[in-house]
Symmetry: C2
Subunit: 354 residues, 2 copies
DNA sequence: CTACAGTGTGGGAGCGCTCCCACAGCTGGG
DNA sequence: CCCAGCTGTGGGAGCGCTCCCACACTGTAG
């Protein structure tokens, strides 16, 4: 630290130079000819201010270019006017790539109207998880958004016990006590499988995500439901357990093919798995979609570039982000303990792979 | 020691007895039997503390689970201990998708060691740009990272004049006065084109990004340089002006093909453009790589899924993020006005398209 | 006239820190 | 013996806000 270069203190206002220091509420009050309390009331939109005073204050604010000091406000209100978006690092790779950006984009769009700040916290290991706990315990945010929740993730429990307003993207299970927003995964999967059946597929397999994630369970559930609705028995040999990744998709597809060479349709719980599966199918001499029809999930950028372009289930990710932010703001402001849970519809984007 | 040291912790009985009551520095001091100043010194790592006092304070901190109040600290130091990552919204789409996540991931990794917070600010229109200006002017962050700079972007100029420590990803031009980190775009492009020439291509075209971005210029420059080094004249008819997008790639490729049907290699300044170009080439009956070899830039997820898989220039994006954060922290801490500029090497990932 | 609620207002107190000054204890040199 | 010059320490002041109490001033009722 350099001991020089201190700010030139403007002890004597008349000393010539324009003051570099940011104006304070007190200075606004002086200029407007009112007290601090009145300025504060105007800034915070209190109705108990005369029109005349309000106008004087607003003029003074404009003239001085006054912006309230957040730290001072936080110190006294113990609001921070910021929320955290927590992302388990491992997941950023797993997700269909636009997922992450789109969530952020939605959240940010919603927050743009308010003066909430968005803090981004990536958590990649146990140490950082501990730090996050300390961080949240210290009440340094007004609310938390959590992306990608595993069934055994300790974070939601922590949030619950700290009573910090929070909204999850996805949920841990049917009885999720926290607020959440998620896509209609089961419905999307069901739609996809019905599409395969309608095309004439009779042996429809599926590639699942890790089953400790509710998303994966829900997509598998939708697959199962569509089959049963169509009068097909649920057949475990047609279920390939995978992990949402491309390599996982390849491996599971190979096994599936070995077990059931006659399969003629595959619903994959993610696009990248579907991409991996398509490679394996092609290598095995199957034509897509003629011999085997394939559907992915996410409608990610990958889906548009496979050969043939992939039919996929689209979830409204940006909308999910927006909704999460909106629910969180509600929860912060009303402090009502009502959990808010929203399910958004999915959509089947039909391309050439099915 | 002092009989007055007890704290009436039920000043406001309230309607529900909030158990929160975070311990303050004062309580730590009381428990450790020292003064506030000493506790503050221990927390801030001052050397002027006796071993005995330090230990007593550390014990007290651990016992109370004390965490310093950031707002109070900010109020007096006018440090915020947070930096902003500014992302022009339009760009999140343009970039090869992992770009955004990888930058964040790198920045976050570097910040994890410190107790800096990462603020994410997306800017999608003029209104938000104005808000950002006000925000930065109000000194609400200690430093700023900026992703994706256009030549005429007003933000860097603002940062410069406000003298806020900042680091850009990429630069506006050769004479960039701010600190920046960027990949060796020219070198990567040169490498790609040399690869094409070595393969035997004699009519190598290129698809550029928007030329008001230095990245695009640099990649074009590398293309040109490689050709000239190999004794080929630079031929404007082989240059397709595009905009990094898939659709842009398609359009430009069609024009290129119309102008120069005999071309046998294309270096594309982004993977998605290359993907678009490959579609057009295939539609025109060209085999890849036999008739026309194609190379992309970014080594994004798209490159792995095109048919055939795409040869592409990889930039170390996460490393760029890390480096940006590191440079910014340096700049914040030393307040030296030395600009720091780092160029990271690129790498050619050879797959089947060239 | 007094009483009293209802408005708008000023400004003291205090949030939890850091900064900095004063001072106590301890050297060691004159 | 004193007087420096250290080091370690306590605690006052104050950062810029919000909260809230006290205090004008109304106007209406008793």
């Amino acid at each position: 630290m350099s001991p020089t270069a201190q700010r030139p203190d403007a002890l004597h206002p008349g000393a010539g130079g324009r003051a570099t220091a940011r104006p304070t509420l007190e200075e606004v009050a002086a200029l407007a000819g009112v007290g601090r309390g009145t300025v504060s009331r105007v800034i915070n939109g209190s109705p108990r201010v005369s029109a005349k005073a309000r106008e004087a204050v607003q003029t003074a604010i404009a003239e001085l270019g006054y912006v309230p000091n957040r730290a001072a406000r936080t110190l006294v209100t113990s609001r921070t006017d910021s929320i955290a978006l927590v992302v388990p690092e491992a997941e950023t790779r797993l997700f269909s790539e636009p997922y992450f950006s789109d969530i952020i984009s939605g959240v940010s769009a919603e927050l743009a109207e308010t003066d909430m700040q968005l803090l981004l916290i990536l958590v990649r290991n146990q140490r950082e998880r501990d730090r996050l706990s300390a961080y949240l315990t210290a009440q340094r945010v007004d609310g938390v958004l959590v992306v990608s929740v595993h069934r055994d993730d300790p974070l939601p429990g922590l949030l619950e016990s700290l009573e910090i307003p929070s909204v999850l993207a996805g949920r841990r299970g049917d009885l999720e006590p926290l607020s959440y927003v998620h896509a209609d995964n089961a419905g999307g999967a069901r739609m996809a499988v019905r599409h395969l059946l309608r095309r004439g597929c009779t042996q429809v397999a599926t590639l699942t995500g890790p089953l400790d994630m509710e998303v994966a369970q829900a997509r598998l559930g939708g697959y199962r439901r569509a089959l049963e609705e169509a009068g097909h028995a649920y057949d475990e040999e047609l279920v390939g357990l995978a992990d949402f990744t491309e390599e996982g998709g390849r491996v599971a597809m190979r096994e599936l093919l070995a077990r059931r060479p006659e399969l003629d349709g595959v619903f994959c719980a993610s696009d990248v798995m579907a991409a991996g599966a398509m490679q394996v199918l092609r290598a095995a001499g199957r034509r897509i979609p003629d011999d085997v029809a394939v559907i992915g999930f996410d409608d990610s950028i990958v889906a548009r570039h496979t050969d043939p372009p992939m039919t996929s289930v689209r979830q409204p990710i940006e909308e999910m982000g927006r909704t999460m932010a909106r629910l969180l703001l509600d929860e912060i402001h009303e402090r009502g303990r009502a959990r808010r849970q929203v399910v958004l519809a999915t959509e089947l984007i039909v391309r050439d792979s099915a």
